[in-house]
Every structure is written in structure tokens, then in C-alpha cells.
């Protein structure tokens, strides 16, 4: 179905080729997962399948890519539209029309299919993806998961044999991501579509994959069975790491596999008690928010929420898309709208409400890194940004740069902020906000687009912030990250707090929020591989 023959991709301004002499054969009906660190060439590989590389992106492609006998050298993307369907990371950016039904028909209109065929396929696709009730809805009013399913539907109506998905779930909450992925597996199993899928959070998809393409970052591609490839790879989902710790071969890829093998492990750990998280503080709060209300026309985003933050504690703020997490963070910082309630920050200047302060002083009370950290950056070089941050917060010159060097190793100062990787950009934005030395730090969806290593690095950064006595709030969908860093979890729904407790209490109480390790080890309350490793070491010395 898809053949790569000695494919090398070299972008004009790059020193090294992105892909180097890649040979691949992906047969019909496979679900092929593409994994690798940020910048390792996943997107390049995916975009080469339908000819966007090099027809659209520029650069030089050596060798040949053929899809169902068509050479991408002679067929530009538009002439492959009936064979390959491509769905991007941000579905909204790829929508051409403005209602669901028109969007589903758009691709077929371009292929000049007869009206009767189009009508029939639109109805079929609406049913196949379970979005029939959305047919007349404007695309912008849909939730993230619905948008992603519409985007998949919009390419499916052209009946492509190959579906290429570039991180389809990175912006979705766990349940919505599950919906999208179950749709994808259904397409593979029922319709025999060949799917090529890139994903950072391997734990979500690796169990469904027939094959794993791993890009180590030097331009080569490691190709093979998922379990076999993961055995020799530095980035791995928690289940695989657990399997390595416990010495299981082959490595488990689904919770079900792992659970069937875990009885021995559970017995070994029967006497060990999982580390209890930091006890609830009853000391002075770093920030106390009372009866917070945020309204937008036609909807209440935050409905009378109380939130206390303590120094040295990491709070994870969870909840589905649109549950009011971001609105709450912005209202607490004072930069967003707030129709009611009060905020008291107890810092070096005594108790103040950041909203009553000018923006320049509010950021010394509460620092917020927004969902797209790039919004904070507007200068040409990293050094210029750092110098500007020092001026903004009246800090001695070099403060921001020193913070940045702690957070990310050796960022070249003359680089343009937009050329940084996601993780580096996050570090820069965080360093800028930390220059003002706020006692409270709020992070909105910080790990979107980060790979496992970058996430591990991020966890270290968060730990360091709390060690300095700051209160940290992380709004996120990523249950594995929460299990690794948070002391306390607050769950929001429809603008209200529906659960607030220690990480163990909240995460084990609901299957939607339970990390993989917890699902495997239940009823024992282990959350992360690190906890299990530590306990095994202790058990080993005792035994």
C-alpha cells in the first residue's frame, strides 16, 4: 500500500537530512504507529506519504514514495486526495467550510463526485462516526473531540485507502481521546483502512498498533512489532516501564496484558505500603480564592469556586475540555474576567488581591504560563526576551538567563523563540514568568506536545519550584503526569469543583482518571512506576 524506497528528505536550511535512506513497506489494513522525540521527523514522515513533503513544505526528497502505485513525485497532494486522507493536530485549522455537513462534503466536491453519491456518503459517514446529531452545527461550536471526529469524517467521505493522523488526540481530554481512538480502530477493523498515526502519549494507542515505527532522531527509522521495538527504546509508556522493572517478556502493551501477569508482582508488594502523599497542610495559605465566579455571555464558566493553595504543594487541576479550568486560572491571576469572589495572595508584601494591582505588579504575586506559551514571546532572540524579562520585573540583569539555564540546558541565546522546540519554548516562557519571583505559579496545559523525556524534565522543574516554597497549579489532561508530580488533585465539571483530595484518593476513585499503573496494581494503590521501583528495592533488601 505505502512504499518508501531509499527515501532521504533534506530541508534546505538544515545541516542534517530529516530522514535518511528510509525503506518501508506498509501493507494494506495495518495500524501503523509512528513514535519518536519532538523534532525527530515524525511529521516529515507522515507528510511524505501524501506528497506534502516536498510539494508543499519545500526541501528535497531523494528516492521514491509510492502509495497504491502512485509516485508522489508525479502526483501532488491534491491528486492523491482520493487515496490518502490527512488529519492534522488542530482540526479547526484545517476546516474550510463552516458547518459539519458542508465540511464532510468538501473533499467529495473537489473530486467531482455525483450529487447522489455525495448525499449517500455524507449520511453513511455521519452514522459511522456517530456525529449525526451534529450535522447542522457550526464547526466552531463543537468540542475538541467532536471537531476531531468531524475532521476524520471529512477525509473519510472521499473513501481513501490510507488515513494519516498527526497527533489526533494531543489537545483532547482522556475521554474524548478515547472516543477518537476507538473510531480509528473501528475504521481499521471494519473498513480495512490503512492508518498511519503519530502520537506522543503512546500508552493510549500502542495496544492497538500492528506495527511501530520509531524515529530515534538521527534520520533512521526502526520498524517492527510494537513490543519488540519498545524493548530497546528510551521513551516508553508507563506499562512498558513497569514491565521492564518486573522483568516481563514480552513487554505488556495493554492494561489487560499487564494485569494478567501482575499477580506475582502484587504478591511481592503485598506488605509494602505505597508512599502516602504529602499530608494536607493546615498552615498558612499562599493563595486563597473564595466564591470565584466567571461568566461569559450565555454560559457560566466558573460557578462559585473556593480554592486554597499552600506553599510547596503541587495541585493538578483536571476536568474535561470546557469545564472552566483555564477561566479559573486566569481569574485567579487577575488577568482574566472575574464577576465575583475574592483572591488573597499572602506573599512578601502581605495579603493582596492581584486583580487590584497593575499588571506589572500582579505578576509578582501570581505567575501564569498560558496554554500557548508562544503568546508571551515576541522578540527576535532568546537573549532579547531574557533581557526584556529582567527589565519588566526590575530584576538584576541575568536573572532570567540564570533561571532558564536551570530549566533547560544550554539554549543558544541567538536563536529565534519560534524555532525552539515545544519543551524549550515552555522553559523560556516559564523562566520569564519566574523572573518576577511569584509565590504562586499557574501552568495551563503545559505538557501539550511534549514527549516522555521532556515531560520527565518538566516534572523535575515543578519539583524544584515547590522545593523553593512556591505553590504550583498545573491544569492538564495527562493522568500519567498528574500521578508523577501532583500532591493534590482538583477535578472541575461545569464550572464547579466536583472532587478535591490527595492524588491517590482522587485518581483511584475514578477509572477515567486512574493511571495505567494503578489499573494494573489495583486494589493496591500504586500510581507510578517510580513508586513500584522504590518499593521493590526496599522489599528486595528486606527479603
Amino acid at each position: 500500500m505505502i512504499d518508501f524506497d531509499q527515501v532521504t528528505v533534506h530541508y534546505a536550511e538544515a545541516r542534517e537530512p530529516m530522514l535518511r535512506e528510509v525503506n518501508l513497506h506498509i501493507p494494506e489494513g495495518e495500524l501503523c504507529l509512528v513514535a519518536g522525540r519532538t523534532g525527530a521527523g515524525k511529521s516529515t514522515l507522515l507528510r511524505a506519504v501524501n506528497g506534502l513533503v516536498p510539494h508543499f513544505t519545500g526541501g528535497t526528497l531523494y528516492g521514491t514514495v509510492t502509495v497504491q502505485g502512485r509516485d508522489t513525485r508525479r502526483f501532488p497532494p491534491r491528486d492523491l486526495a482520493d487515496v490518502v486522507g490527512v488529519v492534522g493536530q488542530d482540526p479547526l485549522a484545517g476546516f474550510v467550510t463552516d458547518t459539519v455537513e458542508e465540511e464532510l462534503a468538501y473533499g467529495m466536491e473537489q473530486l467531482a463526485l455525483p450529487a447522489a453519491v455525495m448525499r449517500k456518503r455524507v449520511e453513511e459517514t455521519l452514522d459511522l462516526l456517530g456525529i449525526a446529531e451534529l450535522r447542522d452545527r457550526p464547526l466552531r461550536t463543537l468540542s475538541g473531540g467532536q471537531q476531531q471526529r468531524v475532521a476524520i469524517g471529512a477525509v473519510l467521505t472521499s473513501h481513501p485507502q490510507v488515513l494519516v493522523l498527526d497527533e489526533p488526540t494531543s489537545a483532547l481530554d482522556p475521554t474524548a481521546a478515547e472516543d477518537v481512538l476507538s473510531t480509528v480502530t473501528r475504521l481499521v477493523h471494519d473498513l480495512g483502512v490503512t492508518v498511519v498515526l503519530a502520537e506522543h502519549r503512546l500508552e493510549r494507542v500502542v495496544q492497538y498498533a500492528d506495527r511501530l515505527l520509531y524515529l530515534p532522531g538521527d534520520g533512521t527509522v526502526v520498524d517492527g512489532e510494537p513490543a519488540a521495538v519498545l524493548a530497546g527504546v528510551d521513551l516508553a509508556p508507563p506499562l512498558v516501564e513497569l514491565g521492564r522493572v518486573a522483568g516481563w517478556t514480552p513487554l505488556p502493551l495493554s492494561v489487560r496484558d499487564a494485569r494478567r501477569r501482575a499477580s506475582g508482582l502484587r504478591q511481592r508488594l503485598a506488605d509494602a505500603t505505597p508512599p502516602s502523599p504529602a499530608p494536607a497542610r493546615d498552615g498558612t495559605t499562599a493563595l486563597a480564592a473564595r466564591r470565584m465566579v466567571v461568566r461569559y455571555p450565555g454560559t457560566v464558566a466558573v460557578a462559585g469556586v473556593d480554592l486554597d493553595l499552600y506553599p510547596g504543594q503541587v495541585v493538578a487541576l483536571m476536568g474535561r475540555n470546557g469545564s472552566g479550568k483555564s477561566s479559573l486560572l486566569w481569574a485567579v491571576q487577575g488577568g482574566g474576567p472575574r464577576q465575583g469572589g475574592s483572591v488573597t495572595v499572602t506573599g512578601a508584601d502581605g495579603a493582596v488581591d492581584p486583580r487590584t494591582l497593575p499588571a506589572g505588579r500582579a505578576r509578582r504575586q501570581v505567575g501564569l504560563v498560558p496554554q500557548t506559551p508562544g503568546d508571551l514571546l515576541y522578540l527576535e532572540t532568546v537573549d532579547a526576551e531574557c533581557a526584556q524579562a529582567d527589565r519588566e520585573s526590575d530584576a538584576p540583569a541575568g536573572t532570567c538567563r540564570a533561571l532558564l539555564d536551570q530549566l533547560a540546558s544550554a539554549l543558544p541565546g541567538d536563536q529565534h523563540p519560534r524555532d525552539l522546540s515545544e519543551g524549550q519554548r515552555l522553559a523560556l516562557a516559564l523562566a520569564i514568568q519566574l523572573t518576577a519571583a511569584p509565590p504562586v505559579v499557574l501552568l495551563d496545559e503545559p505538557t501539550r506536545g511534549l514527549d516522555y523525556l521532556a515531560k520527565r524534565q518538566f516534572s523535575t522543574i515543578v519539583r524544584r519550584l515547590t522545593a523553593e516554597g512556591r505553590a504550583v497549579v498545573v491544569a492538564t489532561h495527562d493522568v500519567e503526569l498528574v500521578a508523577a508530580v501532583a500532591d493534590r488533585v482538583v477535578v472541575m465539571a461545569q464550572g464547579e469543583i466536583v472532587a478535591d483530595g490527595t492524588t491517590t484518593e482522587v485518581m483511584l476513585a475514578s477509572p477515567a482518571f486512574a493511571p495505567q499503573v494503578a489499573k494494573v496494581m489495583a486494589p493496591q494503590s500504586w500510581l507510578t512506576v517510580d513508586q513500584v521501583t522504590g518499593a521493590l528495592a526496599v522489599a528486595g533488601t528486606r527479603g
Binding site: 492534522g88 473537489q110 448525499r119 447542522d136 452545527r137 471529512a154 508562544g374 508571551l376 515576541y378
Partner: protein, 413 residues
Amino acid sequence: MTEQVTAGKVAPPPTQVARSGPTIAGRLPRALHPGAWWLWALGLATAANHTTNPLPLALLVAAAALVVVRRRTDAPWAFAFRLYLVLGGMVVAMRIVFRLVFGGGQGDLVLFHLPEIPLPAWAAGIRLFGPVAAEQLLGGFYDGLRLATMLICLGAANALANPKRLLRAVPGALYAVSTAVVVALSVAPQLVESVLRVRRARRLRGATGKGLRALRGIALPVLADALDRSLALAAAMDSRGYGRTAAIPASHRALTGGLVLAGLVGVCVGTYGLLDATVPSYLGLPMLLTGLTTAVVGMLLAGRRVDRSRYRPDRWGLADVVVAGCGVVTAAVTAAAGSVDPARLYPPVSPLTWPELTPLMLLAVVVAVAPAWLAPPPPTRTAERTSTPVTAAPAGAIRSATPGRDLQREAHR
């Protein structure tokens, strides 16, 4: 929806099936061709342009409003009509205020005196404030009302027909242009969104949000954002088959392009000639028709080689023709009324006279309001959609129908 009873018969319950089925006699609820509504509205606007008499103007506004109320859907753009009414009111008020400020002194019936501001000699001929005469205010009111009525008529078309659907109905030759316009229309709100987002983010860095430096801090990320987004959109459109056209000889392309362009210029000149009573008459209707024919021929030629199909195209049925015809007849009857009795259409303000209606004007208004009953009722939304209002952040509401079923299943394995 209040209009179950239409023309003495009970309309069938508005369902999705009824809407998508073939339309018989135009009585099933359905959306009219957007072009029909626009022709009707343009007809009304043309009629309004032919008179300054406040009576027919007010009646035309009332007619447009009635048709909108009876035949609009519950789509977001349908509620923009209120804005046009406000805008019309503002136009009238502005006209009167302008007359107050600048136009002092004409007319005998002086209502009151405002202190006049003396201007230097070089500004002779302009007077600020001074005595205010009733004639002068009335003149401003008539003028403003005419402009406001035309605006409101266009607003009615906007409320009744999705402007984007109108773009979809353009001939195949203009497809690329219409796509560009549709994309531009959807980019505008995104741009506003990203300006707001970046401004908020700038405040996080302590910026005051004023001055040239702040502008740079906002403009750069917004532009970069817009560029990223348009690249993503272009890639998506390319990979979905946009622009799959067969190779066309350059001479053919030049011919069709020239015909369409010349035709459109003709249409513009003709429209101008029709609206402005002072230009020679051969620049009016004849020019418009010649231009239209040329443009249509060009588009037909160009459209012949476009290999693209259209999903559920809007079709012209009887009702559509009737509605468009109502607009044309309104304009024609008003024009006729003008040639029969011009004084009634442009009632003099000095001396003050009470404006009068003629039977022909009344007929024009009756024809203008007829679509309120002649057009089929608009399709109603299905029950499950009315229960989930579009504005009320449906993200959670819809998701919760299946609360984590898959995950629970997975957890129990």
C-alpha cells in the same frame, strides 16, 4: 415557531425529512435560494432609493421587518437584523445632527437658536450652529431615512439568507474567488480571537497594552499565528483535493477572464446608471443587461471545464422565483410611480407639506411584503438540537451522554 398555520392550511410538522425531500409547490418548510432573498432585498432597496417620502419608506422598513420575523431561521446570523435596525436609527440621527451643526439657516420656520460659532474668513460658506429651522431638520430626516431604509433592506437579506450560502451559489468559474472569500470570512473572527489571547498574555508580562511598543508585542505573535494557521489551512486544502483542475490553454483562460471582467464592469456601470437618476438613460438598464449577458457567457465558458461537483446545491423553485419577482416588481412599481407623479415621491420640505401616499406606492409596499406569506416557512431545527443551545458551551453537555464508557470497560478488564 409560531407559523404552523399558513394560508389557511396547517403546514406539515417541520421535520428533517420534509426539508430534504423534493419540494412540492414550495409549501414544505425549506430554505429559499439565497439569491431569491437578495434579489428581493435589492428590489426593496432600489425602491427606497427612488423616494424620500417618509411614508412609503417607513412602510418598506415595516414590510422588510415583517418578512424577516416570519421567515427567518434560528441561525446566529438571523438575529443580526436587530443590529441593522439600530444602525438605521443611528444613520437618521447622524443626518439630523449634521444638519443641526452645519446646515444652519435654510428655512423660515425657525424652531430655536443655537449660539453660532464664528469661523475665520477662509471657511466662508460653512456655518456652525446658529438658528435651527424645521425644514432643515426635516430634510435631514428624509435623507437619513432613505439611507437607513436601504441599509435595513440589505440587513433583511442578511438575516434571511446565509451570506456564505450565497457565495456557494456563485457560478463554477468564480469558485476559487468564492472559496477565498469564505476562508477570509472565517479567518476574521480567528484573528480577533488571537489578538485578544495575545493581549491577555502580554498583560501577564506586565505590559500596559498601550503605545507603539505594545502594538509590536501584540502584532508579531498575532501575525505569526495567522501565518501558521493559513499554512495549515493551505496544506489541508491541498491534501483534500483543492485545485484539481485539468490543464487549460492560456488563450482560453484569457478569453473567459476578459469576458467576465468586461461583463462585471458593465454590471457596475449599469447599476450606477440605474440608481443615479441624473446619468443618461442608456447607461442604466441597457448597460446592466449587456454587462450581465457578457459576464454570464464568460462564466458559462469557464464553467464548462471545471471538474467539480456541488453538494446539495440550492435550486430555484417556484417560490424562489416569486420572492425574487416581488422585489423586482416593487422596484418597478416605485419607478413607475416616480414617472407618473415625481412630486409625491420627493415631497418638498419648503414650504412644509404633509407627505402623501399614492395608490402605486401602496401597491409597491403590498408586493414587497407578500413574501411573508408566499415564501415557504423556514426549516425548523430538530428537537434534540433545540435542546442544546449553540452558545451554551456544549463541550461538556454532549460528552456526558456516554460518561467514560470505554474507560470503565477498560478498567474492568
